[in-house]
């Protein structure tokens, strides 16, 4: 027996009882201190932290362990370790993050993130992650858009997989309870406090209730509400919707990041992500005339730090100190808008994208070594050899900057006992997230959320318990699609909602289109209520989609209403009718709340950044 198994046997597995709550359904209940909803990078990191803090912890996930969307993160984990450029430090990382988010970020979160990311990366290494190495044997770091120095710890172009596998193996080693293929449909409350989660097993369709004073939402994003997206089916905004429903609030929901480079062909993989590392490794964007067009799209905001000739841009890869960055490595919102403009101006590729060219820039051997998954992805899915031909790319819905409004230090939402981390939480990335900052976000705040949730749970003198009426209500809501005779097809409603969101609340927005979207969303709500499901409850995807639509509709409305409210363009929110960035709007966040099913928006002033941090923005950026 090893030391780790000793720790495992000490782990409590939570009392289990199977109770019947009436004739129409049976369900099981278990007791925990902390329940983590979601098993991506932030959920696993939070569960590990909560477990290590002594809390009886459970992880619930809609998928199998290790399949979460984190595996899709390719480029790397941003952390100012200074392994490649000793000039790098947390202050520079903090400044890059704030500038990338157009200063709308929660400064305290950005600060904590920049300060703690290196320790979290090293911790992964101690748990078995194998990052690429520098010549001195340290963790290698690569360049990415918006980061002044090469800063992303990476493993080829499959860094997210490395992170999730490392955390998964750690969680399994610690013996943390895992409930796989379980969907949470309700947060349970006792008075103001969180009392647990209610949901169903996908495998059997039977219900499962976890009683816990603290719940951490680590459910990821909302990308599945958009037709062209790099996100998987899981990204239906469950955490966002659950938090709203439980009385929490969302922040920055108008900011949706469209990743500049998604695949466009073949149709079946439209939206699939092409990592920013292609550009970090030297790839450039060209239009149908062969022109490297990004030089035409350098905004004043980034003029001082961006190369204005191809020669300077090309020298930069070897000498960051004496040259400025290539414009291909501007933050994602800038590049996505530029690509969008080129395509609209008729200078796009045959399938409606632009060209991303690495073939003429790097040797085939380098491409195989540095971008193996990309080579593989194009070869097998599009029959394109990226060492010989350029890729066709266009923007794809990728990430929502908005999420549950949380306290910067503890990740606590406004509902006592509720926490949110990762993409499900908001504030950290402001109006636009820099590449590489999401993976570091997951582990920095995952750890904090786990620790604080455990501490909160330990401090409760009485265990909150949900009323049986609330549970009955949750059961009824979950079974409703089986009893409806409305005849609506869940898949059809989902697909049409995705079309509306992508076309009307997409990368470029106007007030009129967003109004139309809101009207459509109201109609979808009516149709969603009439969805009818075939078959039984055991592993029935039709039923699962029918329930997921509710979350998708809630977050879609939140995005649309917030976007309509913000009358300016900034980061991941671009309006044709308000194309300029307005400094007045730079002082407020939009907060989304829900009362009796109705969504409301309010303005909230940004927290004031202290002077010592403000002074970081005064020195001229290079």
């Amino acid at each position: 027996m090893t030391e780790s198994s000793g720790a495992r046997s000490a782990t409590s597995t939570g009392a289990r009882s199977a109770t019947s709550t009436g004739a129409r359904s049976a369900h099981e209940t278990h007791d925990y201190d902390v329940v983590v909803v979601g098993a991506g990078g932030s959920g696993l990191r939070a569960a590990i932290a909560a477990h290590e803090a002594g809390a009886r912890t459970a992880i619930l996930t809609k998928s199998l362990l290790g399949k979460a969307h984190t595996v899709m993160a390719e480029g790397g984990i941003a952390a100012a370790m200074g392994n490649v450029w000793p000039e790098d430090n947390w202050q520079v990382h903090f400044r890059d993050t704030m500038r990338g988010g157009k200063m709308l970020n929660n400064w305290r979160m950005a600060q904590i993130h920049a300060q703690e990311a290196p320790d979290r990366v090293w911790e992964l290494e101690e748990w078995g992650a194998l990052f690429d190495r520098t010549k001195e044997g340290k963790i290698s770091q690569r360049d990415f858009g918006g980061h002044r120095y090469a800063r992303l710890a990476h493993v080829g172009d499959r860094t997210g997989l490395e992170m999730i596998r490392t955390l998964q193996q750690r969680a399994v080693d610690l013996g943390i309870d895992v409930y796989m293929e379980c969907t949470v449909t309700r947060l349970l409350k006792s008075g103001d406090r969180i009392a647990g989660t209610f949901g169903y097993w996908r495998e059997t369709g039977s219900f499962i209730q976890l009683n816990a004073p603290a719940v951490i939402l680590a459910t990821g994003g909302i990308g599945k509400s958009f037709k062209v997206t790099s996100n998987s089916w899981e990204y239906t905004g469950d955490g966002h919707a659950l938090a709203l429903e439980a009385g929490g609030s969302l922040i920055n929901m108008e900011f949706v990041q469209f990743h500049p480079t998604g695949m466009v062909w073949p149709l079946s993989v439209r939206g699939l992500l092409i990592t920013e590392s292609v550009r970090g490794e030297g790839g450039v964007l060209r239009n149908s005339d062969g022109k490297r067009f990004m030089f035409d799209y350098i905004s004043d905001y980034f003029k001082a730090e961006t190369a204005d000739t191809e020669e300077e841009a090309d020298r930069w890869y070897d000498d960051h100190i004496n040259n400025r960055r290539p414009p291909e490595l501007l933050p994602r919102d800038e590049v996505a808008r530029a690509i969008n403009s080129e395509i609209k101006a008729g200078r796009g590729s045959p399938h409606g994208g632009v060209y991303l060219d690495i073939a003429t820039r790097r040797s085939a051997a380098d491409i195989h070594k540095r971008l193996p998954s990309m080579y593989h992805q194009f070869k097998e899915l599009a029959d394109v050899d990226i060492t010989k031909e350029p890729m066709e790319v266009a923007p794809t819905a990728h990430y929502v900057m908005g999420g549950v409004e949380v306290d910067a230090d503890t990740q606590a939402a406004t509902v006592p006992g509720l926490y949110a981390v990762g993409e499900a939480s908001g504030g950290m990335h402001g109006s636009n997230r820099l590449g590489g900052n999401s993976l570091s976000d997951l582990i920095v705040f995952g750890k904090r959320a786990g620790e604080h949730a455990a501490e909160y749970a330990a401090k409760q003198s009485t265990r909150p318990t949900a009323s049986s009426a609330a549970v009955e209500d949750a059961i009824a809501a979950a079974l409703k699609p089986f009893e409806s005779n409305g005849g609506e097809n869940a898949y059809a409603v989902q697909h049409e909602l995705q079309d509306v969101m992508f076309d009307l609340i997409g990368i470029i927005r106007t007030g009129e289109e967003m109004q139309r979207a809101l009207t459509e969303i109201e109609k979808f709500k009516g149709r969603a209520a009439r969805v009818t499901v075939d078959g039984g409850r055991a592993y029935n995807p039709g039923w699962h989609v029918a329930l997921d639509i509710n979350s998708m509709l809630t977050v879609s409305e939140a995005v649309a209403r917030a976007a309509l409210e913000r009358k300016e363009s900034r980061g991941g929110h671009t309006r044709d009718d308000y194309p300029m960035t307005d400094p007045e709007w730079g002082k407020v966040n939009l907060i989304v709340t829900q009362t009796d099913g109705r969504i409301a928006i309010e303005r909230k002033p940004l927290p004031q950044m202290p002077n010592d941090l403000m002074s970081l923005f005064e020195e001229p950026a290079k």
Binding site: A18, S20, S25, A26, S206
Partner: protein, 283 residues
């Protein structure tokens, strides 16, 4: 509508009820069949060749001269190298050991290469599939009721592969020597440079044998595979890199060297008994 009816201890254990042994629609049987035929042919030919070390006669200056069938001056069949027993032609006889002269020398020489190939990680794959049908092909059910893999005697002896490798590496050196001496013709006037079709047959044979032997998985392990710090052993790491490259094509080396060694033996026998003429030049 629903009540509790199962506990965690009763997980579903039944597989999908599919009775077909496989649902493959491609020619999955082709590879194992080809392996079966070529190996079978080699074994039959090799057994015959190993036993038949009889005398044949060629006419030197009009006189029928007896010599061993596996030898056609200056070519020695690789099945009979090194020629160490009584009965070997005198000018290639290493050690004229007066033992077992009734036994073909090939029989004890071949123990090494046969053992080497029988325990080879590639050949194991090939014959387990083609002869044991364990499995005949991927996702095609095997016919056996029980399976214990390589956990028991005699298959546990597959672990001796590296010892056969040590021996075969020496043998590879000897076959290389044979290839070199096939360029030397000795007669009463001394040593002459010689070049013939058979010389090339033996050179190719030596290259294939060496390529197969030094691409061996055990060799890869011994050079540096067993180390966890390549960076501390740069020379061994370079060797490992080279062996790894050969190892990548181990299957191809295995087949090519197997077929070629039989062809080399056959060629030398046909020259030896005068069926065909070896084109050559003596300088």
């Amino acid at each position: 509508m629903a009540t509790q009816s199962a506990t965690q201890e009763t997980r579903p254990t039944a597989r999908a009820a599919i009775t077909a042994r496989h649902l493959r629609t491609d020619r999955w049987w082709f590879d194992p069949l080809l392996t079966f035929i070529v190996f079978g042919a080699f074994v039959i030919y090799g057994t015959w060749a190993a036993f038949d070390h009889s005398l044949v006669y060629t006419h030197v200056a009009g006189n029928p001269t007896p010599h061993r069938w596996f030898y056609a001056k200056p070519y020695l069949s690789p099945f009979y190298s090194p020629c160490v027993a009584d009965g070997c032609p005198t000018d290639i006889n290493w050690a004229s050991a007066d033992i077992w002269h009734w036994l073909s020398p090939a029989l004890y020489i071949l123990i090494l290469p046969l053992g080497f190939r029988a325990t080879c990680y590639y050949y194991r794959r090939a014959y387990y599939r083609a002869y044991w049908l364990s499995p005949p092909a991927c996702a095609v059910a095997e016919p056996h009721k029980k399976y214990t893999g390589e956990t028991r005697f005699p298959l546990l002896a597959q672990n001796l592969h590296r010892y056969f490798w040590y021996g075969s590496a020496v043998l590879g050196g000897i076959l290389t020597y044979d290839a070199v001496v096939s360029f030397i013709y000795t007669n009463s006037s001394g040593y002459h440079f010689f070049i013939g079709v058979g010389s090339f047959v033996l050179v190719i044979n030596a290259i294939l044998i060496l390529g197969y032997t030094f691409g061996c998985h055990s060799c890869r392990h011994i050079t540096a595979g067993r180390l966890n710090h390549f960076s501390k052993h740069p020379i061994r790491y370079r060797w490992w890199t080279l062996v790894s490259k050969l190892n990548h094509w181990h299957r191809q080396w295995a087949w090519a060297s197997l077929v070629w060694i039989a062809l080399a033996d056959l060629y030398i026998r046909l020259v030896s008994n005068g069926t065909i003429t070896d084109y050559h030049h003596i300088f």
